[in-house]
């Protein structure tokens, strides 16, 4: 129990207690019936399932393809470019995609010859949102799959070369079955992230036309925040968590089994054909991933009158650096807060989660895993009020500590999930040897050094999630950092990035430049992480196999 105790105490105080507080204390049947009245619940469930399943499958498939490309073609640039969608604040990227899809005015519809905006038709709105969902989710499965492919033992690669296997046969018959578990983990994580995705449907369509793209997270938000109907919100949040939890648990059982997850694919293609084909497909996918960032760059560096033209102005003309320079200067206090909070929250998450994940991986207190997945899947609005009360009464509002303590509700639960698999794949012989030699504190003295790369990769992922956190910084901080003594304020860059959205007005130049400025540190972290993964085989990367 001792390894998981700190984690359990943490999630009890800041996870379970707020959950019970919100849902059980606020529960009343009339609230639930009011929440269901008049709403097309079936359509909302359908939209949520379509969005999350298709996003997970498509992003995992593309992530796998790009990982193979980066591995086969030694493409460090590919890897860095793939991670770009993860660098941009979600609200900003959703808004940029919104204007990219304008029929004939947006670059996307223009390049595809579409005369209409897919978000503006009831029959295609949810698919338009899903497209953007795939774009924003690809980096996560890519990172997982790339790490897994780089972890394939050197001996297996060399044996394949000696046997004269082409690259296509190597990946189809050896590498893919080997990294099957990693693919499943990537699929699961993408699915869970998508089920709870609030930003995209809210910003892109508001759930319309009508209810044609309304999803469960939107309903939870409306019930709890706009209608003050906690019971109604609890009902839909419960549905949402079940939707995330059930497949996660089923697939987790499959992950623990010994059989191969992905089948062996007999693809016989000479390298002289395989490599160029892979290159062409990769280039097309990269175009899809990178162009919105290029569009954001244009929006940041030119006047807004050039953003709404038909046909769209694709070339970098009429550029001005004024928005970017202003954002660079004004973002400084927010940037400092984000760096401090993200580093501390990520450290705290890994420190809490790793011992608990180890206990689960050796078969003790397995219930911690489904509990973690459940809490991870809950919409943040479910916890907001009780957590605010706890932080406020502790006198921590508007301090770094408010965020370092609250953000790990999601990052630590995520870390438990991902680290459990890493620890589960460690050979049992290490633990047995520790027992034989009576090594005390085996986890810290033996397991941690052996799984350093996995811990580092988890740290990077939780850093990125902490960096993008918006809701907790919003409710728990008031002002940007001021370097008085003692220093006050802790607003993060995600709040800074929203200042471009005014009352019935969007300052597009400010939006684009704030998003780019906010993305810079994450781009650097991503590059370092990918470099680390590409360098190491057994030494580097997350072991998701």
């Amino acid at each position: 129990m001792r390894y998981s105790l700190p984690y359990l105490v943490y999630i009890f105080i800041l996870g379970l207690v707020p959950f019970i507080w919100t849902f059980l204390i606020g529960l009343n049947p009339s609230g639930i019936s009011q929440a269901v009245k008049g709403l097309p619940v079936g359509l909302v469930m359908y939209n949520t399932i379509i969005f999350s399943v298709v996003t997970a499958l498509a992003s995992s498939g593309l992530g796998l393809l790009l990982a193979i490309s980066a591995d086969a073609l030694e493409g460090r640039v590919t890897s860095a470019l793939v991670m770009l969608p993860y660098s941009i604040p979600f609200t900003s990227s959703a808004l940029i995609w919104g204007i990219s899809l304008y029929g004939g005015y947006g670059w996307f519809t223009y390049l595809l010859g579409l005369k209409f905006d897919p978000l503006n038709l009831a029959s295609t709105a949810i698919w338009g949102i899903t497209l953007v969902g795939v774009w924003s989710t690809v980096p996560l499965p890519f990172l997982i799959m790339y790490s897994a492919l780089r972890s394939v033992p050197k001996e297996m690669r060399e044996a394949a070369k000696v046997m004269g296997l082409s690259l296509s046969r190597y990946y189809g018959e050896i590498a893919l079955p080997y990294v099957g578990k990693a693919f499943l983990v990537a699929l699961l994580l993408s699915f869970t992230l998508s089920v709870g995705n609030f930003d995209l449907p809210f910003i892109l369509t508001g759930g319309g036309p009508g209810f044609s793209s309304t999803t469960l997270p939107l309903i939870v938000y409306e019930q709890m925040s706009l209608l003050n109907n906690l019971s109604g919100g609890a009902f839909y949040a419960g549905l949402l968590s079940l939707l995330a939890l059930i497949p996660a648990l089923l697939l987790t059982r499959i992950v623990r089994s010994k059989r191969a997850i992905l089948p062996s694919l007999k693809v016989k293609m000479p390298d002289t054909l395989f490599k160029p084909l892979l290159g062409v497909v990769t280039a097309l996918v990269l175009l899809f991933l990178v162009f919105p960032v290029y569009w954001m760059f244009l929006v940041a560096f030119r006047k807004a009158t050039l953003d709404f033209r038909a046909p769209p102005v694709l070339a970098p003309v009429g550029l001005t650096s004024s928005y970017f320079v202003q954002s660079l200067i004004q973002s400084t206090p927010y940037m400092i807060s984000s760096i401090i909070v993200s580093v501390l929250a990520a450290l705290f998450s890994v420190m809490l989660a790793s011992p608990a994940a180890y206990e689960v991986s050796v078969g003790r207190r397995r219930w911690i895993l489904p509990l973690s997945i459940f809490l991870y899947a809950m919409p943040v609005t479910s916890f907001a009020v009780p957590i605010y009360i706890i932080i406020y009464n502790a006198g921590l509002v508007n301090t770094f500590w408010s965020l370092v303590l609250s953000i790990p509700i999601f990052t630590a639960t995520f870390a438990v999930w991902t680290l459990t698999n890493s620890f589960a794949d460690l050979p049992r012989s290490y633990s047995e040897a520790a027992e034989v030699f009576n090594i005390k504190n085996k986890f810290f003295r033996l397991i941690v050094p052996l799984t350093g790369p996995a811990l580092i990769s988890t740290f990077v992922l939780t850093f990125i999630f902490s960096w993008h956190a918006l809701f907790f910084p919003l409710i728990l901080t008031d002002t940007p950092l001021s370097l008085t003594f003692p220093p006050q304020g802790a607003e993060t860059v995600t709040i800074f990035a929203l200042n471009a959205l005014g009352d019935k007005y969007v300052n597009w130049g400010q939006l684009g430049s704030a998003a780019l400025v906010t993305a810079l540190p994450v781009i650097i972290i991503n590059y370092i992480a990918v470099y680390r993964i590409s360098k190491g085989l057994r030494e580097g990367g997350v072991k998701f196999t």
């Binding site: 209409f116 905006d117 009508g210 009352d503 019935k504």
Partner: protein
């Protein structure tokens, strides 16, 4: 040794921090926290707070600016927690009924007599369906209205003016237009002569804008139908003109009014206006793009909120005139200030509100921050200032005159955002895009959905 050093350093830092904390808390400063959305008005509030502090030693008003897109999440979390963290909150008319349960009624403690009543009505006043009474839960800070802007360089052109007059027998100046048909004539004239690519831009955003644009058009028809208004052309607070101006017998809320011949005519007019801009299937005109599109010069004018005009560069604002909606009225879109029920300094908060709504600060709002005051007496004073330019005077006069008739408002009862808007906008959108060509059926479906939900 290293450990001892670390312990000593930690103790020193803790001691200094504690001393600083004690120093802070031992002073007798009363701090009021006021959360508002970032922007020009927030800057005004911070300025006003400083002035108030100077006049009240021992008091500090802390104005906290939050991103507009997320302010309601922050406020509601704090208010739902019954926290005293914020003493004063700012909110829009759309959010009014979400925050109203947590705000102090102001009927008996604030003098509303000099306020432009139409500004206060949509968001500052809520209708209590149990008592049948209206309660003031917020105070309007400025005048913000939905109106018509137009490119003066087009409409001051005498050649175009006489040709237009000859063809349509209507004066070319938007200031004179008496009905929406005059706008359609101008759209037709200007686009057919290739003067502009589009006509007057009007919001047709399915997710939200339709609920702002439709009432702007509909009021012209609604206010002329006594069966709908019941003698109350402004509607009942919270329900406004999309519902009848009276509560029928046997109901405790008014019924939808737009499923009527007046509503159908308004929808047909709205659709004609939308036909002179990009198809909504292609690009929906909304807050994100209407200002930029107008700036590009693709349209002769637009229907916008007065707060949006502030974002024009000077080369655009210098040639942009303001006019009421055709027929001489406007729609409201102002913001409000309320006092939290959980504040520990309610009397002081009220005093600050009264300070913000004083003549002195309302004049500062106009002269220094270029926003429109909300007190009638302040308009009179400013308009008597001979140093105003001709265009400033015309703009102020127009705003003052027609903001008093700014009742062309959508509802803002709690289910508006989550249910009324999606059902109404979805149906109207189908009509605007030609997916359903029966205006009567479209409005009837929307009305039935509203009744089903509210019933």
């Amino acid at each position: 040794m290293a450990l001892a050093t670390i312990i000593v350093v930690v103790v020193i830092v803790a001691a200094v921090a504690s001393f600083a904390y004690l120093l802070n808390s031992s002073s007798k400063v009363v701090t009021l926290n006021f959360v508002y959305f970032s922007g020009n008005l927030c800057t005004f509030l911070q300025y006003a707070a400083q002035q108030f502090d100077n006049q009240h030693p021992g008091v500090k008003i802390n104005v906290i600016g939050e991103p507009f897109s997320e302010y309601i999440d922050k406020q509601l979390t704090v208010l739902q927690a019954h926290s005293s963290q914020y003493d004063l909150v700012g909110f829009t008319s759309t959010s009014a009924q979400s925050v109203s349960p947590y705000l102090l009624p102001l009927n008996n403690s604030f003098n509303f007599s000099d306020l432009l009543q139409a500004q206060e009505f949509f968001g500052g006043v809520i209708y209590n369906s149990t008592t049948g009474e209206q309660e003031n839960i917020g105070v309007a800070l400025t005048t913000a209205v939905y109106l018509m802007i137009y490119n003066k360089s087009i409409f001051d052109n005498q050649t175009l003016a006489s040709e237009f007059q000859q063809q349509y027998h209507v004066n070319f100046s938007p200031l004179t237009w008496q009905n929406w048909t005059d706008v359609i004539y101008a759209d037709q004239f200007l686009t057919s002569h290739h003067i502009t690519k589009y006509g007057f831009l009007i919001d047709d955003h399915e997710s939200h804008g339709i609920i702002d644009a439709y009432p702007a058009v509909y009021y012209w028809y609604y206010s002329r139908d006594a069966n709908l208004t019941g003698g109350n052309p402004n509607g009942i607070a919270g329900y406004n003109i999309m519902f009848t101006g009276y509560v029928p017998k046997g109901f405790n809320y008014p019924l939808p009014s737009f499923n009527s011949s007046a509503g159908v005519e308004a929808l047909e007019t709205y659709a004609k206006l939308v036909s002179y801009e990009p198809s909504p299937l292609q690009l929906q005109v909304d807050y994100d793009n209407i200002i930029t599109l107008y700036e590009e010069g693709v349209s002769p004018g637009a229907f916008v909120f007065s707060t949006q005009i502030a974002h024009f560069p000077s080369n655009v604002s210098s040639v942009t005139g303001v006019a009421p909606l055709p027929g001489g009225y406007m729609e409201t879109g102002t913001d409000f200030l309320g006092i939290s029920k959980f504040s520990h300094h309610k009397a002081l908060a009220l005093e600050f509100l009264q300070f913000l709504l004083s003549k002195q600060m309302q004049e500062v709002l106009y002269y220094k921050f270029h926003d429109f005051p909300v007190l009638r007496s302040v308009y009179t004073d400013i308009l008597s200032n001979s140093s105003l330019t001709q265009s400033q005077r015309q703009e102020l006069q127009t705003i003052y005159q027609y903001a008093q008739v700014a009742y062309a408002n959508p509802p803002n009862i709690p289910p508006t955002y989550s249910y009324l808007i999606p059902t109404f906008n979805g149906q109207v959108y189908n009509y605007l895009t030609g997916q359903n060509t029966n205006a009567t059926q479209v409005l009837q479906s929307a009305a039935e959905s509203w009744v089903k939900y509210l019933g």
